[in-house]
């Protein structure tokens, strides 16, 4: 049986489905036997999900306009 610490170390690969089948089976077994790690695994998965659903970042309008103006000047200067 894995220790909780070993489980945590593998958690990122487990959630990203990057472990080998053998390790995956061990991790699966750990969470069926360890309620704490089950909760940590489940809530970490939900953490990633809520951030994935976060609306895409919009740039402030003033910063966008200044960037476009600066780049236009830069390109124009390069063409001379």
């Amino acid at each position: 049986m894995l220790t909780c610490k070993e489980f945590l170390t593998e958690l990122t690969d487990f959630l990203d489905e990057k472990t080998t089948t053998e390790i995956r089976a061990k991790l699966q077994r750990h969470i069926t036997e360890c309620p704490n790690c089950w909760v940590i695994c489940d809530t970490t998965k939900k953490t990633i999900q809520v951030y994935k659903g976060m609306e895409s970042c919009t740039i402030p309008e003033d910063i966008h306009s200044r960037l476009m103006a600066a780049v236009e000047r830069k390109i124009a200067a390069g063409k001379k």
Binding site: L15, I40, V50, K52, C57, I63, M68, V71, G78
Partner: protein, 217 residues
């Protein structure tokens, strides 16, 4: 000066190549087509600005980083080979620019994103409580936005940056490593810490009503 160098073109990683329309846009931009370069800017400026904010935590600095990153990218377009996505490349440039800003601000030449990294203590799981099946439904969109933003702002810059690139922007672990000039194991361990810390912070808001913390201990 070494710090002025722009990152070397990344090595090819199968599957991480730029989409073909990007190669086309870059080729046209190289030929002086400003409109093509504008398309690339519009595609990535929001993410680059957020990244710059994550690292500098200052609006003016982040704006400078944004402009300098796209200037540098434009000047060095011929070095972009299409072995990686344009975004991975511009992130690398932006991270370099952001670190230079921090160095100037703190007059510390050795600063890196990893400078304040903790040593294991930050992997501690403080609160173990099951969440609601749909934790977001208890809050309005604005409230959720505030909760998520404040949680992420409470992380160290390196964790915030790794988490944002990997889990919010959806880069692979390898692309994140390439963008931040870290090893793959370094990205993985930082990502784990970031995820666990965020989980801990969000539990306060999302745990099932009536459940005490440590109910499962």
């Amino acid at each position: 000066m070494a710090t002025e160098a722009i990152p070397a073109p990344p090595v090819a990683t199968p599957g991480n190549e730029a989409p073909s329309d990007e190669l086309d846009l870059v080729a046209r931009a190289k030929g002086g087509d400003g409109a093509a370069f504008s398309v690339l800017i519009n595609r990535y400026e929001g993410k680059v600005f957020r990244l710059a904010m994550n690292i500098t935590q200052n609006r003016e600095d982040a704006e400078d980083v944004l402009q300098e990153a796209f200037f540098k990218a434009y000047e060095h377009l011929d070095q972009f080979q299409g072995n990686s996505k344009f975004y991975t490349w511009i992130v690398r440039i932006a991270v370099n620019q952001a670190l230079m800003k921090l160095r100037k601000r703190k007059s510390d030449r050795t600063i890196s994103l990893d400078e304040q990294i903790d040593t294991g203590e930050d992997m501690v799981v403080r609160e173990v409580a099951a969440w609601d099946p749909d934790p977001e439904e208890r809050y309005s969109r604005d409230e959720i936005h505030t909760i998520l933003t404040e949680a992420i702002d409470g992380l160290l810059p390196i964790y915030r940056t790794v988490f944002t690139l990997r889990d919010v922007d959806g880069l692979s672990t390898e692309e994140t490593a390439e963008a931040l000039d870290l090893s793959v194991p370094a990205v993985k361990s930082r990502l784990l810490r970031a995820r666990l810390q965020l989980r801990d912070k969000l539990t306060r808001f999302f745990k099932r009503k009536g459940d005490d913390a440590f109910a499962y201990m």
